[in-house]
């Protein structure tokens, strides 16, 4: 019996290496667990038929390496036999990818996303694809065409979103690791709701090739894991320069070096004394629950205990982040979603002529939230409103970016709650889009500015009159390309929480 609850990448690789169990046995254990809990949680949309075949290949590879005297792990096989779940908007050649939409119900990926190709190279095994808000638009997976993913900690509550299936599956031991995508908090917020770790890398540090586009200036792929160390290992395996081939928005080697050097600190140097910025004005924004506030205070105390310096910083323009996001993101959505026209891929609803084909296909096969955002984007980009919304939002975005630049002259990392509340009840926000969007208030900023951010479990909230305890998370943000600072601070935080 494999103890799935307490596995990490390192432990798993050791056990596989020692022959305590095989990849096939490990994947079988996950498949058993999925059989047991997925009917309640609804994290998996599909378990791949070839999951065990992939595991067998990993076992054979390990055996060959052992006999050839090359048993150690190197970068090529850094994740040999590690089971992953994939968010349904990332392409894995020959396998279905629907973005949890009806319009792509039958779509089969024609090629591998760069992250998938890199993970294959590292020896990962892909168990299946997991649920999400349709085309990653939402914060609860309630917008999936295939039903909501429930929170493993309380089945009456949402798992968060849009990578709700990715977070829930790690929380329910349905996979050791999952991949998510984050446009405004879609990795971090569900990770916080489900009590797991979620990393949004620096924009451009991980290739978006093979990720279905939502907001192209914001989208990034990242891991959801149980520990910060696992997030670091997966990040190291998927970070790359893809600018000369598939994704021209990935950073070049030179850019990565320059950005890394521009914040002059070595977090590995002992004793580590990082400067942690907190933003008092953010605490006054509406909608912040008491449990979250108290939990943040407790987290600040932990960092003080670690010998870190806590500094109050001013971010005068951060309050506009959510408004800026809900202008720029729909604007990009409205153009990215134009490709779903019933001609090139996916399903189609026939009409009398080509125009009717478009109207029917998009009207009937795209869900409400997707259509709402397309129309919102069309509105803010339309002549007469372009200056008032889109251009203004870009100006505000630059101001927010300069707030960050100034802040990172004084601190190494910025600490906020990940979300203003613990996971909410299914259906709680369905009639009020703004209340739903407010759940993104702490996370969208990192996407607008492009900095890396991580959500780490920070405790539980007890909700009146309910037996289940709901997980909470803190968010750490670092300067561009300084994921290393997040990992050092994050591991320290985990260690102190015990």
């Amino acid at each position: 019996m494999i103890d799935l609850k307490n596995l990490t990448i390192k432990k798993t690789l050791e056990s596989l290496q020692k022959g305590e169990y095989t990849s096939v046995e490990l994947v079988s254990a996950y498949l058993e667990q999925i059989k047991k809990v997925n009917a309640d949680v609804n994290a998996y949309l599909e378990v791949y038929e070839d999951a065990l075949v992939q595991a067998k290949v990993a076992d054979e590879k390990r055996a060959t390496r052992a006999t050839s005297g090359n048993a150690g792990l190197d970068s090529v096989n850094s994740l040999l036999g590690i089971p992953f779940a994939i968010k349904d908007n990332i392409l894995f050649a020959g396998h279905r990818a629907s973005a949890s939409s009806k319009i792509l119900e039958q779509y089969v990926a024609p090629y591998d996303a760069t992250v998938i190709a890199m993970l294959k190279e590292a020896g990962a095994v892909f168990i299946g694809r997991v649920n999400m808000d349709e085309f990653a638009m939402g914060g609860s997976t309630e917008n999936s065409a295939y039903g909501v993913t429930k929170n493993p900690h309380d089945l009456e509550r949402v798992s968060g979103g849009s990578s709700g299936g990715s977070a829930a599956t790690v929380a329910m031991d349905g996979a050791l690791i999952s991949l998510g995508s984050d446009t405004g908090g879609s990795i971090r917020q569900p990770a916080s709701y489900c009590g797991v770790v979620g990393l949004k890398p620096t924009y451009g540090r991980v290739s978006r090739h093979g990720l279905m586009a939502m907001g192209s200036s914001l989208d990034v792929i990242g891991p959801i894991t149980k520990t910060v160390e696992d997030a670091e290992l997966v990040f190291n395996a998927i970070a790359c320069v893809d600018a000369d081939r598939y994704d021209s928005t990935t950073l070049t080697k030179k850019e990565v070096e320059e950005m890394t050097a521009s914040h002059n600190i070595n977090p590995e140097k002992k004793p580590t004394k990082l400067r942690v910025g907190i933003v008092p004005e953010l605490m006054n924004l509406g909608g912040l629950s008491n449990e979250v506030k108290e939990n943040l205070d407790a987290s600040i105390e932990l960092f003080k205990k670690a010998g870190y310096e806590i500094k109050e910083i001013a971010m005068p323009n951060m309050k506009y982040s959510l408004a800026v996001y809900y202008i720029l993101m729909p604007a990009e959505v409205s153009s990215n979603m134009a490709r779903f026209d019933g001609v090139k891929y996916g399903s189609k609803v026939e009409g009398a002529d080509l125009l009717q084909d478009y109207l029917n296909t998009r009207g009937e096969l795209l869900g409400k939230e997707v259509r709402k955002r397309i129309m919102l984007g069309t509105y803010v980009l339309s002549s007469g409103y372009h200056d008032a919304y889109y251009n203004k939002a870009n100006i505000a975005k630059d101001l927010i970016a300069s707030d960050f630049k100034k802040a990172f002259e004084e601190v190494d990392v910025i600490l906020t709650p990940t979300a203003p509340t613990p996971a909410f009840k299914i259906g709680a926000h369905t009639s009020d889009p703004v209340a739903m969007y407010l759940e993104d208030i702490f996370t969208v900023t990192a996407n607008l500015v492009g900095v890396p951010a991580i959500s780490i479990p920070s405790g539980f909230a007890e909700v009146d009159g309910e037996s289940a305890k709901l997980p909470l998370g803190i968010q750490l943000m670092a300067p561009h390309c300084r994921e290393d600072i997040l990992f050092v601070a994050g591991k320290k935080f985990e260690e102190l929480r015990g």
């Binding site: 090629y111 001609v343 919102l376």
Partner: protein, 103 residues
């Protein structure tokens, strides 16, 4: 700013999407409430543009650089064309099939 049913119909038509009447009413209310929320960016002064000079902002620099590769055919870059054609909802003799475009 109030979004009317007529605005919604125009947006739906521009975005090539059919909406039911019920959806039109619902979207008018919801889009109105979202626009009500994002209104706050009007407080940001347009003159503020000068504060965020180009030299100041890294992400924008990234957005504005060219990333070109050699203009050579690389078959590795693309999967077999037939796989892509197969993904289309309708095909005929190896072509994607669409309805007549010109009247």
């Amino acid at each position: 700013m109030t979004i009317t049913q007529a605005d919604i119909q125009k947006l739906a038509s521009l975005s090539r999407m059919k909406l039911t009447e019920e959806e039109q009413t619902q979207f008018a209310v919801e889009i109105d409430s979202i626009l009500g929320y994002v209104e706050q960016i009007k407080e940001v002064s347009s003159g503020a543009q000068g504060n965020a000079s180009h030299a100041d902002k890294k992400p924008a620099d990234i957005a504005h650089r060219n990333a070109l590769r050699e203009d050579v055919a690389d078959t590795d870059l693309n999967p077999d064309a037939s796989i892509l054609i197969d993904a289309a909802p309708a095909e005929e003799q190896g072509f994607v099939k669409v309805k007549k475009i010109l009247g």
